[in-house]
């Protein structure tokens, strides 16, 4: 059952990803993207990361993608069907290069027989510890606890990051005319 679901989600997510790359308009790409994000959320569930699955849908598919959509609409690109996919030799070359890169990467990750990927890594204890934490503190609590203790600095940096993003977005997206009187 789990495996079948995984295959399903995987197929959907890859299909969505291909759709993003090949989508004829930004909106199409965006919708494919949403499909991918959603199926990834499904996979997160399969991987027992329920909280992440939730915010994946909420934040990513919900907020960020909508932001994209807003911008597409704002710039009136919704019906921009001009071909912007590079066809021909460029694409071919790109596919070859990226394919090579991916295969090298996969080959590297897989490793040699003796050091078969995953075999060495599979540490049931870790999964058990996570499950235990989730059981004790709930899906949110299991993440929140280390987040606000061990990773509190990172959390603060995230805060600054968002602040900077806001400032930057405001400064950059402001229409030109009005800033000049500053």
């Amino acid at each position: 059952m789990t495996d079948a679901l995984f295959v399903l989600f995987a197929v959907v997510s890859v299909g969505g990803a291909v759709g993003v790359v090949t989508g004829r308009s930004p909106v199409a790409s965006l919708l494919f993207m949403v499909a991918t994000l959603a199926s990834l959320a499904g996979i997160y569930v399969l991987l027992e990361a329920h909280f992440l699955a939730a915010i994946q849908v909420l934040v990513y598919a919900g907020a960020i993608m909508v932001l994209f959509l807003f911008v597409i609409m704002l710039l009136n690109l919704g019906h921009d069907y001009r071909a912007d996919l590079r066809f021909g030799s460029w694409s071919l070359l790109s596919v070859v290069v990226v394919g090579l890169t991916a295969s090298v990467l996969v080959q590297g990750i897989t490793g040699s027989e003796a050091d078969a990927f995953g075999g060495h890594l599979a540490d049931p204890a870790a999964a058990a510890a996570i499950d235990l934490a989730v059981a004790e503190k709930g899906a949110v609590g299991a993440i929140a606890d280390p987040l606000f203790t061990d990773y509190v600095v990172a959390f603060e940096v995230i805060g600054l990051l968002l602040l900077v993003a806001i400032v930057a977005a405001v400064v950059l997206a402001k229409p030109r005319g009005r800033s000049e009187d500053a």
Binding site: R86, W90, L93, S94, V97, V98, L100, T101, V104, L105, Q107, G108
Partner: protein, 718 residues
């Protein structure tokens, strides 16, 4: 700090005999002093002349008839220092014991002192150098006096005397230097003065070209001298004459490659300086200088330096029979070739120049056959009569020049075709020049007869030596020398006849202005004439004492020069005897010395007589109407056997062409091209690479991905 060099210099060498030379340094320094004083005067005078020139005026030192101090003082300084030097030289000459075996070396300071090399600024006084000093200062003095008259009106008068004094200084360094290195200083120094004096009238392109040519050809010879010095230093560890000649026999294998190389290289140097084949080409051109200069430098002294050097190194040459033969061969060939060229020259100085080359060839022949005394003997007598000839020619030219100048006509004042009949206008000059002509022709009992006869005889005598490996060539040299002697008589007689006899070919107007030279010029001529007559009597051969050639026993001494030079030459002579065996008493064709002397003087007299008749009967056109010989041997002789053209085609042009090629092709294109190409290639590479910066995000991402591929590939696969 006490320098070891100075400590050494303080240790003045005294001859074993206890003779102390009188102020030897002053002999050398007096001319230098003259140079400095005259030089200062020259600069002062030149300041005025150049200022006038800049202002666009012509300049003459004369204000009315008065001459400024810059043009009167040199008259006294120039000949004055020479007189003093001559006096000192005479004093030392007379004081020097004839039997003194070891030279007196007086060292002043360590010139180049480094490691094992030690060259002192030192003078070496021995019989040979003193004799040379005497000739240089004596003949030099006379020529200085002559110059007072000859150069009187030249604007560069003080400069002339400065150069002349400087020349004498270097010449004295050359002959008195105690080592090859100091000799070389004089050697190149006289070359410099020769350069300056040939190009004395430097505004004339041809004249300054001639000076340059002389210098460069001389330098070719100097390279030989330099290399010879290096070899000598390598063999002996010193360049000083005394230890070298004293230690030669022990250290050099007779006939060995080393000594042969040394002597041949020295010969190259000597050939350059003494205008021997194949480096003789500069001397005729050197006639561009003032005529007294030709007399002093290019006849009497400098050009004989090569002979002096060979004689000085006689020990080395004796050890190298091959080199000796080469020296003799070069000498006799030069003598012959130059004599033939002289037959067909019209420029009076050119004839004398080729004559000089020819006579130098005789000296080389002498030195080559081992007759070192004879070489020096001929050097001395030649200094007398050739100086006389040149000065006489100078007087003629002087007269012709004035005639041309006063009559405002333009003709070549040195071309004999423009002369003729000058005897009437210049009787004294004509008379003394006849004396010199007969002397050089070898007419008994004048100087040239004795010296030339001795050379020819020795060639014959050594050709007959038992174990001479080059007996055949020696015999040939002898025959050629005889032939050349006859040619000498012919071309000299031709010169005299064309110049002084027959009809005048000088223009009507000019003829009226021809006149005898002033007293200051004729007095030296007469003095030299006397020397040309009696100079040969210093070395009448003993075997001829009672014969006609010994003036029938009227002389108080025979072979004086031979004895005088004995300390210098005996080592060489004994080596030669050890190698060749005793010289023969008979010539290759039979007959003794007296026989051949009589034959040769009779033959020379006959040739002179024939020449006077033949040339006297020929009609000559003035140079402007004469087109020269039309072809055949005469044309070849007229064109000096085409030596200049040959060198031009084989050496000068190729070197210049090669130089240009090196510059334009190699330096500019290849070497600098490579340098600049490095820069261009870098820039081109930069430009090409910059084309990848298309400004397109996709492109940039693609390159980035490529980089990632490489990275991952390296990380995973390696």
């Amino acid at each position: 700090m006490t320098s070891p060099a100075l400590a050494y210099a303080a240790d003045a060498a005294v001859a074993a005999d206890g003779w102390v030379p009188v102020l030897p340094g002053a002999m050398v320094l007096l001319p230098l002093l003259g140079f400095v004083l005259n030089g200062l005067l020259a600069l002062r005078s030149a300041r005025d002349s150049s200022a006038a020139l800049r202002a666009g005026r012509d300049w003459s030192p004369l204000v009315g008839d008065r001459r400024p101090a810059t043009h009167t003082l040199p008259t006294w300084i120039g000949p004055g220092v020479m007189a003093l030097a001559f006096g000192l030289a005479l004093l030392n000459f007379l004081g020097m014991p004839a039997e003194m075996h070891d030279p007196v070396v007086r060292s002043y300071w360590g010139w180049v002192v480094t490691g094992e090399l030690r060259i002192d600024a030192a003078l070496q006084l021995d019989q040979l150098s003193m004799l040379m000093t005497l000739v240089v200062t004596g003949v030099g003095f006379l020529i200085h006096v002559f110059s007072v008259g000859y150069m009187r009106d030249d604007p560069g008068y003080p400069r002339y005397f400065a150069y002349l004094n400087l020349f004498v200084f270097f010449m004295l360094v050359l002959v008195l230097g105690s080592s090859f290195a100091t000799m070389f200083v004089g050697w190149e120094g006289v070359g410099l003065c020769s350069y300056l004096l040939i190009g004395y009238w430097f505004s004339d392109r041809e004249k300054s070209d001639a000076g340059k040519k002389a210098f460069i050809v001389n330098r070719i010879g100097d390279v030989g001298f330099l290399l010879a010095m290096f070899l000598i230093f390598g063999a002996f560890g010193t360049l000083d004459f005394a230890p070298i000649f004293a230690g030669t026999e022990g250290q050099l294998a007779a006939g060995g490659a080393l000594v042969t190389a040394i002597t041949l290289l020295l010969l190259l140097g000597a050939a350059g300086k003494s205008a021997q084949l194949p480096l003789h080409i500069w001397l005729p051109d050197a006639m561009a200088g003032p005529t007294p200069v030709s007399a002093l430098i290019h006849a009497a002294t400098m050009v004989t330096a090569g002979v002096y050097m060979v004689v000085r190194s006689s020990v080395l040459y004796s050890l190298a029979p091959t080199s000796q033969a080469v020296v003799a061969g070069v000498g006799v060939l030069t003598a012959l070739v130059a004599a033939t060229i002289a037959l067909q020259q019209y420029d009076i100085k050119k004839v004398l120049a080729y004559s000089t080359i020819s006579q130098l060839g005789f000296m080389f022949l002498a030195a080559g056959v081992g007759a070192y005394t004879a070489a020096i003997f001929h050097l001395v007598t030649h200094a007398f009569f050739k100086a006389l000839l040149f000065l006489g020619a100078g007087a003629v030219i002087h007269s012709m020049h004035h005639a041309a100048h006063r009559s405002h006509t333009d003709f070549d004042e040195q071309d004999m075709r423009n002369m003729g009949g000058l005897r009437r206008h210049m009787p004294i000059t004509c008379a003394v020049m006849w004396v010199a002509t007969l002397a050089i022709a070898g007419i008994w009992p004048l100087a040239g007869f004795f010296s030339k006869d001795e050379i020819i005889w020795y060639a014959a005598a050594w050709a007959g030596a038992e174990s001479n490996p080059f007996a055949g060539p020696y015999a040939a040299f002898w025959a050629l020398a005889l032939l050349t002697a006859l040619l000498t008589a012919f071309y000299m007689a031709r010169l005299m006849v064309m110049t002084f006899h027959g009809e005048s070919r000088t223009g009507e107007d000019a003829r009226r202005h021809l006149h005898e030279a002033p007293g200051v010029m004729t007095v030296p001529l007469v003095a030299l004439a006397a020397l040309s007559v009696f100079g040969g009597w210093i070395n009448v051969p003993e075997v001829l004492r009672s014969s006609f050639a010994g003036l029938f026993g009227a002389l108080p001494m025979t072979e004086w020069l031979h004895h005088w030079l004995h300390p210098v030459t005996h080592a060489a002579t004994s080596i030669q005897i050890a190698g060749f065996g005793e010289a023969a008493k008979h010539a290759p064709l039979g007959g003794g010395e007296a026989t051949w002397a009589l034959l040769s003087t009779l033959a020379a007299a006959a040739v002179v007589a024939v020449a006077v008749r033949v040339v006297g009967s020929r009609k000559f056109q003035p140079a402007s109407l004469d087109s020269g010989p039309e072809g055949g041997l005469r044309l070849a002789l007229y064109n000096k056997w085409y030596f200049d053209e040959l060198y031009d085609a084989v050496v000068v042009r190729p070197v210049v062409a090669l130089s240009r090629w090196c510059w334009r092709a190699v330096d500019n294109r290849v070497i600098d091209g490579l340098v600049n190409m490095t820069g261009s290639v870098a820039r081109l590479a930069g430009w090409t690479t910059s084309l990848f910066q298309t400004g397109q995000v996709n492109m940039y991402a693609f390159v980035l991905t490529l980089g990632i591929l490489c990275f991952l590939g390296a990380a995973v696969l390696l």
